[in-house]
Amino acid sequence: MSSRPFLELAQALEINEDEVIERVRALKQSGILRRIGAVFSPEKMGMVSTLIALKIPDPTQLEQVAEEINKYPEVTHNYQRNHSYNLWFTLVAHSRERLREIISEVKRIKSVEDLLEFPALRTFKIDARFMVPHL
């Protein structure tokens, strides 16, 4: 950690600090770079998380269920997948009680035939670093 992070990057890249900041700004503006900041550990912050799969047999209802799920700020990722359990989302909450509460509310959504929960037991890899090809 440095008070002049872009200067350190500039020295490593052998260009000047202004240019680094300018280029980072351009990457951010174009959407390639989402943000520069801290990645907090929910577990270390005392939060609890889980993965949920829903079976929504009627495909015309999927979008609406997805929208209802997205309303929870505790939902961080939500994807339609090619499986009979066709909607998968991750929940990160401040307490186990809150997780249970959300899960029981989601179970009551009419088009949801079944809900499966997959809490993590062990983490083997987290936060990939990608090789970025030439753009």
Binding site: K28, V39, A128, F130
Partner: protein, 156 residues
């Protein structure tokens, strides 16, 4: 939740978004929250070493760098082979996350690995290679049909 004082909560709010793109980003944040630049840097270092902050980094949009296909691979692995299969999967650069998960009844897939590639073919090649290496052939690839939400965690 761990206890954070008011200034620390403010700091978390700034750090979980994006630092300002200026020469001294932490000095700018310090003006906003009334902590000195030095104490902010000290706090971040402390959180990094205790693991509260996993990494301080740039977060790239996968799609925008050509990783347009993402799949969740799920594997049915006997307990004694989990570590081997997980380490094979984790060694692949295309795999971003790998977890052993507790399964409900009637669900045999206990190892989950997220795969990012430029094509479905590339994703399939990754899992076929790992299946070949480990002899675990009971697996499925669940491709993303639609992304409804993808956000970074907001602690506060």
């Amino acid at each position: 939740m761990i206890n954070l004082n008011e200034k620390e909560q403010q700091l978390v709010k700034y750090l979980q978004e994006s630092i300002p793109l200026v020469e001294r980003p932490f000095a700018l944040i310090s003006e906003e929250i009334g902590m000195t630049e030095e104490s902010i840097l000290q706090k971040v270092k402390e959180w990094l070493s205790s693991g509260i902050i996993r990494r301080f980094c740039g977060v790239v949009n996968h799609q925008r760098v050509g990783k347009v296909v993402n799949a969740m691979s799920i594997w049915a692995v006997p307990p004694e082979k989990i570590e081997e299969v997980a380490s094979r999967l984790s060694a692949r650069p295309e795999v971003s996350h790998c977890y052993e998960r507790k399964c409900p009844n009637n669900w045999q897939y206990n190892l989950f690995a997220m795969i990012h590639g430029s094509s479905e073919y590339e994703c399939r090649q990754v899992v076929e290679a790992v299946a070949h290496q480990t002899g675990i052939n009971d697996y499925q690839l669940l491709f993303t049909v639609k992304e409804f939400k993808k956000t970074s965690l907001k602690i506060i």
